[in-house]
């Protein structure tokens, strides 16, 4: 067993998000809404040497599985990420994230004058474009600042 696999297998049950672009680990936690207060066991590796990325971040969450909408948003800030589901110390499932065509209900529109920020009975909806996302309602383009507008 390689050192890498040892690293991701250390938790008993939960999720390991691997191959996160260096520097994005805390944003990954933000997407998952994890700040430590919920009592989950969380460990974060930052700037770990990686063949694929040069340096990568790594997030391990004990006792938590990801929803599809969380994975969708994750794919925007960590397009290379792999998601490992761990049970009884074994990686039982390993998935690459895929960029969806649209993300609904997870991001808030940064345009304060957007109709989705008024009190209307709609979810936000963003089209995933080459280097970011774009509001279906007001066309505002959101790029590197995606993590600041997560609203899960």
């Amino acid at each position: 067993m390689s050192e890498h696999e040892l690293r991701v297998s250390k938790i008993r049950d939960g999720t390991v998000i691997d191959h996160v672009e260096g520097g994005q680990a805390l944003n990954v936690l933000a997407i998952l809404g994890i700040d430590g207060s919920e009592g989950l066991g969380v460990s974060v590796g930052m700037n770990v040497p990686s063949d694929r990325l040069g340096r990568k971040d790594l997030v391990k969450v004990e006792g938590r599985e990801l929803s599809q909408s969380e994975v969708d948003v994750l794919s925007l800030i960590a397009p290379e990420a792999t998601i490992n589901i761990v049970r009884e110390f074994e990686v039982v499932e390993k998935n690459r994230v895929t960029r969806p065509d649209r993300v609904a209900g997870v991001l808030s529109c940064p345009n304060r004058n957007c109709i989705t920020n008024a009190d209307e009975p709609v979810e936000t909806r963003f089209e995933v474009v080459a280097d970011g996302v774009r509001c279906d309602y007001c066309s505002t383009v959101l790029r590197s600042d995606i993590a600041e507008h997560i609203d899960v």
Partner: protein, 313 residues
Amino acid sequence: MRQDHLITATQLSRDDIEAVLDRAREVAADPEAYAGRHGGTMLALCFFEPSTRTRMSFDAAAKRLGIDTIDMGDVDSSSVSKGESLADTVRVIEGYADSIVLRHPSEGAATLAAEFVDVPVINAGDGAGQHPSQTLLDLHTIRENHGLDDLTVGIMGDLKYGRTVHSLATALTNFDARQHFISPESLRLPRSVRFDLHETGAQIREHEDLEGVLPELDVLYVTRIQKERFPDENEYHRVAGQYRIDADTLEAAPDDLTVMHPLPRVDEIAADVDDTDHARYFEQAHNGIPVRMALLDTLLENAEAAEGMEVDR
């Protein structure tokens, strides 16, 4: 145009635009042929933001087609001020009318409205977003004066918040048009519009002053720079002054330059331009009637066709 609604200019293909403008030409040539064509139908005018010009233009266009109009009235006196959502408002109004014209201060309002109703929705301005019916009459004016190909257009003024600019710039990407954008640094095109222009590979150039590019232009589209866009009044006067034109400015322009403005203007086009052959902004405003008639006619025809299909099923 096979669409049910008119929400943004980005939804319009060259064919869509030409079909409406061809029809507008027919309407202008023989308005009698269109009189009463949609008798017995109702159009709701929902203006959540003050407007006299656009509202009257739609009202007049509708009535010439025999369409009756109902007007929501001023927002102050309507249930909107009681906190009703836009989604609720349009769902109620859908029961009163066969089509809805909507102006709203929030970007994306028309997109949202169209998701909640089955009748055609026409966006008559959503915040700093889009104003596509204005664009159709702008294009009609350009087409009648120059045609829509091999065209050099200068768009000047408030490009950041100007919804007529956003719609026009995106619609022009359907044609062989070079676009020059002339504005102060702080009022350049927003990222959302650049995105659409970039996607289409449109040829655009940006300038801080008109002088250098004026001799190349077929069309100069002027928009108002509003005082509210500047934190400081002196700064506003200094900047706005640089984007004003008068008859002297136009000495350097080609003889057949067409000067347009979505109106109302304040002082960005001096009154002495009105007497030159360049001035087309009143003609442009008048074009609102045949173009909006053609648009309403098209959308109602589409809606009727769609309804017919549902009945068949």
